[in-house]
């Protein structure tokens, strides 16, 4: 009974789409080569698309029952939605950043400030730039503004 056989390509395609979506945020984001452009994830989505295409064709073969066609359509739609979520999160959402035209530019003075460190002690930029490191005057300081940890 051929019609009773499991339509494995469609399930493999769905599974691969799930891993293509999640692996960026949990694995590939930790390595600059796979993070800066998510080629590894797009490749996974590409392989998933081939499997899904094969799976959908199988599901809609005339000898297949109705439920196979419904399952095929639902799983394929879910996979496409996951690809959409991924593209939105990495290419659209992540680019919604303020332009920061008035941020200090090359050659300008970095405005001085004073903020609390992790012990609640106030630390100023001027102070950091003038306090010796290992007995020598510091060459400079790297200011890293980040979104915060959550």
């Amino acid at each position: 009974m051929q019609a009773q056989r499991c339509n494995w390509p469609i399930w493999a395609g769905l599974l691969l789409s799930v891993s293509a979506l999640l692996s960026y945020f949990f694995v590939f984001v930790w390595f600059p080569v796979t993070r800066d452009f998510p080629w590894a994830n797009l490749l996974l989505f590409g392989i998933a698309a081939v499997l899904l295409l094969v799976g959908v064709r199988r599901a809609f073969a005339p000898e297949r029952p109705r439920r196979s066609k419904i399952a095929g359509a639902v799983l394929a739609t879910l996979s496409v939605a996951m690809c959409g979520c991924f593209v939105f999160a990495t290419f659209i959402m992540a680019r919604r950043l303020p332009a920061s035209h008035n941020a200090p530019q090359l050659g300008q003075k970095a405005p001085d400030f004073s903020l609390s460190d992790t012990h609640g002690k106030p630390v100023s930029l001027a102070e950091i730039l003038s306090s010796p490191v290992n007995g020598k005057a510091p060459k400079g300081v790297l200011l890293v503004f980040y979104r915060g940890s959550w």
Binding site: R95, P98, D117, F145
Partner: protein, 90 residues
């Protein structure tokens, strides 16, 4: 040094967990972040104003010698890039 809207307590936990040894500064009202024009309005997890990712290399005279304002928050400056710029400082 690192600057965010996180409280000193949250930053202390982060440093302990991740083993960071450089200075972490807390700007809960985003005053300095605003002065540097780096506010990303309403982008925090509870809709609060936070900093957009940005890196500045400042020399001993307080002059900006290198800036990185990413266009995509998944993409940040690479450590080797920053180390090369820092080595060029005199």
């Amino acid at each position: 040094m690192a600057i965010s809207v996180d409280t000193p307590e949250i930053s202390r936990d982060l440093c302990q967990k991740a083993g960071y040894t450089y200075t972490f500064l807390s700007d809960p009202k985003a005053d300095v972040i605003r002065r540097y024009d780096l506010v990303h309005a309403g982008a925090g997890i509870n809709g609060q104003d936070i900093a957009r990712p940005a890196e500045f290399l400042v020399d001993s005279s307080g002059t900006v010698r290198w800036v990185n304002l990413t266009e995509n928050y998944w993409v940040r400056a690479r450590p080797d890039q920053i180390i090369a710029m820092a080595k060029a400082l005199r």
